[in-house]
């Protein structure tokens, strides 16, 4: 059942973003004080995700840690994350999603040689 998000609830939006990022293999949001982005409210903080509202549009910035192998690349992983996040948000709220900025904070390379 789809949960309806009020237009002001950035907490749920940020958590939805984190959830959708975790569904993309080999990616995760950057957590902890090292993160440049976070969404903060009274008594809570979601690291690695920033939710901006511009008029009726939701803009999102995500900071990721990715693990890549020789068959993947940062643009490809980022595109998958964007698609996943956009789909997740649009399934929860009618608000249009504007830009989704992605910052790769750390890259791990798997054992496979380049």
């Amino acid at each position: 059942m789809t949960q309806s998000i009020s237009s002001l609830d950035e907490h749920l939006i940020a958590e939805a973003v984190t959830r959708s990022v975790s569904r993309v293999p080999e990616t995760g949001t950057l957590t902890g004080p090292g993160a440049n982005f976070s969404t903060v409210g009274p008594g809570w903080r979601v690291w690695g995700v920033a939710v901006h509202r511009e008029g009726d549009t939701l803009n999102i910035a995500i900071e990721l840690v990715v693990t890549i192998d020789k068959d993947s690349s940062i643009p490809a992983i980022s595109a998958r994350v964007r698609d996943m996040v956009r789909a997740e948000i649009q399934s929860l709220t009618p608000e249009p999603v504007g830009w989704i900025n992605i910052r790769i904070a750390d890259v791990h390379v798997t054992e496979q040689e380049v």
Partner: protein, 194 residues
């Protein structure tokens, strides 16, 4: 500090400078309080015209000190903050920006450099220009290593890993080798393999 805070700080410094100047001018007898303010407000500053000896020097000394401090702070605030980029742009389109932190790119390059025989330590700086990415690699190598053969290997590996994973052109790779350790700012070669 955002622009609003900086404007507030600059306004505060200007107020400090104006206050110090006013007190100095009145104390030194160059400006009469009656000229500055209408009665009865000028009486606030009248005691400054009646200072003598140690008190006069104390007031003048403190005001000169605060004035000089204000001037220094004013110029420091006017100097533009360093706009050094902390990330390279991987892709930019209508959907948003994709950027990679400089440290993540440096780690990728250092990891590749460390795979070349003879490289002990590596420190890389990354610069972005409109035509692509420039890499500057400082390498600490073994005494037996030949810079002529090692350099091209590092260049090739660094170019390949950056272009493969970031999808950006590498337009310049500068290699600097030395046998001494790289020092405090170096990044030790460390395979970041899972």
């Amino acid at each position: 500090m955002n622009i609003f805070n900086r404007i507030l700080v600059i306004l505060g410094i200007l107020l400090l400078l104006m206050g110090c100047s006013t007190v100095l001018l009145i104390t030194m007898g160059m400006w009469a309080p009656e000229q500055m303010m209408a009665s009865p407000w000028h009486q606030i500053f009248t005691p400054l015209t009646q200072l003598d000896g140690t008190n006069w020097w104390s007031v003048v000394g403190v005001c000169v000190g605060l004035f000089l401090l204000g001037i220094c702070l004013f110029f420091v605030e006017l100097i533009p903050r360093s706009m050094k980029k902390s990330a390279v742009t991987v892709k930019k389109d209508d959907l948003g920006h994709i950027t990679a932190s400089l440290t993540s790119v440096q780690d990728l390059v250092n990891r590749e450099a460390g795979k070349v025989d003879g490289v002990l330590e590596s420190s890389t700086t990354v610069q972005e220009s409109p035509d692509g990415i420039h890499l500057h690699c400082r390498l600490s190598v073994t005494p037996q290593a030949s810079a002529n053969s090692l350099g091209p290997q590092v260049q090739e590996r660094a170019k390949e890993v950056v272009e493969r994973y970031l999808g950006r052109n590498v337009v310049g790779i500068h290699i600097q080798t030395q046998m001494a350790p790289l020092g405090k700012n170096m990044t030790k070669v460390q395979s970041r393999v899972r």
